[in-house]
Amino acid sequence: MRAKLMGFFLLGLIRLLTGAQARWYGCPPKAEQRIYFANHQSHADLLLIWAALPQVLRTLTRPIAARDYWTRTPLRSWITSAVFNAIYVSRDRTADQDPLEPLVDALSRGDSIILFPEGTRGHAEEPQAFKAGLYNLALKFPQVVLVPAWINNVQRVMPKGEVVPVPVLCSVTFGAPVALREGEERQDFLARARQAVVALRDV
């Protein structure tokens, strides 16, 4: 109950501050199993793409949150686990654990996920090179649809080190699905996926 209220509150807040407009260009919002992958510039990316999805898809889609940042305080970990139903991923790689394991679990259970393939937040105009995770997941789950998304303007809402967010309109543009081709090399696929995200900037 409290999580639901918090969800409503966050949704209202995000809409008031950013508009959280979703623009579907390459595919319609549809309840099939998907991996949404987007550029990453701010911690608020997660909130924005969550808010931009329609209600039905929001409950089916789980965002991925960096364990070290999103579990640091009880409030953050409560929000990510109870409200967003997020999947935690640790960024510091330990030898004995595959960082993709929680994602593989979620996907085999039929959930859709939101992924930021850059791994960390970028500060440049263009996104950084994509990490291999997206390729590995695409290889393992060929039936899952890969939808690129471009998140616009979020870094202006709350730059690093600031506490109070500023109202600026933001949008999430969803593009045409990208599929792994037969025998496609990892580097080629990652470059193509990154290009699909960048191309949405000017749609």
């Binding site: 616009n152 730059p159 600031e162 109202p167 600026v168 309109l169």
Partner: protein, 329 residues
């Protein structure tokens, strides 16, 4: 009819006015609905008709929205009206700031604009501190904003960034806040009829814009400033302002003015409004966008909120000050 209307109390008169306006909108909606049922051929003429129908629908939708906003503002009293127009200001400023690139150093100034200046300005309106209200932004805020920006330690394009911020505040907060101020302005022997003054202003300004638009389509004169507006020319501007002023003179009955005064006030308001629209167009051209709102034209195809209220934002302060000065309120 006239005798009967005069015998009503102020509240009943304003209520009757809203009834009348809602009635007009209902008629317009029905007319458009009937027209949308008509078969349009697949030729270019049919396409043009469809296009004009879409355009008219958009216009009607924003008129409905505007009237409902005014109505709720009037219903909810002084506090409600102030909060409501405060929200309109907030959304307009959000659109403005989205399309004016700011740097990281502007963050604190933006926070100040949205979360301090805007509430303070509307509080001043709501509490009728009109003397402080008129100078708060031009004097205090315009001197305080550059200080905050300078403290952010970023000299790049300093003047330009501050100018953008100040323009946004001027149009979206200062201009807009004069609309509820009109609602709260106390004329002797004109108590509780501020809603008529707002209606007078909105009608005059919208008529000016509409007539100017129609005249431009009929006359097809060469534009004065082609790089900024492909439609603005002196002939249709004059027609628009003239018709709006005449309408203002005819509407003198609902205002505290005599017909001559109403004509002059309408003239002032429509000149300010139409030039304000031109100025906002110049800002849009500078940003390279056709409309305010999310990335020019959003998925819905509707323009932004600021496109609808920009003329009002320029006309309201000028109208407010000339009224206050002339009647010595």
């Amino acid at each position: 009819m006239n005798q009967y209307l005069r015998s009503l109390s102020a509240t009943e008169q304003v209520g009757a006015m809203f009834l009348f306006v809602f009635g007009c909108l209902c008629v317009a909606s029905v007319v458009l609905l009937v027209r949308s049922l008509r078969e349009n051929g697949n030729d270019t003429e049919g396409d043009a008709r469809r296009q004009s129908l879409v355009h008219a629908n958009g216009l009607l939708r924003s008129s409905w929205l505007m009237v409902i906003v005014f109505w709720i503002g009037w219903l909810s009293g002084e506090l409600g009206a102030t909060v409501l127009f405060g929200l309109v200001s907030f959304f307009a400023l959000r659109e403005f700031m989205t399309l004016s690139p700011t740097r990281r150093g502007d963050h604190r100034s933006l926070v100040l604009a949205f979360f301090v200046i805007l509430p303070v300005q509307y509080t001043l309106v709501g509490t009728r501190h009109f003397d402080l209200f008129t100078v708060f932004i031009p004097v205090y805020v315009f001197l305080a904003i550059p200080v905050v920006s300078a403290l952010a330690n970023d000299p790049q394009r300093f003047l330009e960034r501050n100018a953008k911020l100040q323009w946004g505040i001027m149009v979206c907060i200062y201009g807009m806040s004069h609309v509820p101020a009109l609602l709260l302005l106390d004329f002797p022997a004109y108590v509780d009829r501020g809603a008529f003054l707002v209606l007078f202003l909105a009608l005059v300004v919208q008529t000016c814009m509409l007539v100017q638009h129609l005249a431009t389509r009929r006359l097809r004169r060469a534009p004065v400033a082609a790089a900024i507006s492909s439609s603005f020319n002196w002939a249709s501007w004059g027609i628009g302002v003239g018709v709006a002023s005449l309408l203002g003179g005819l509407l003198a009955g609902i205002t505290p003015f005599k017909p001559g005064q109403a004509l002059a006030m309408a003239l002032v308001a429509s000149i300010a409004g139409s030039f304000g629209h031109l100025v906002m167009k110049a800002i849009k051209r500078d940003r390279g966008i056709p409309n305010w709102g999310n990335q020019g034209e959003g998925v819905t195809g509707a323009g932004g909120l600021l496109d609808r209220v920009d003329a009002l934002c320029f006309a309201a302060p000028v109208f407010f000050h000339s009224v206050r000065w002339y009647f010595d309120l």
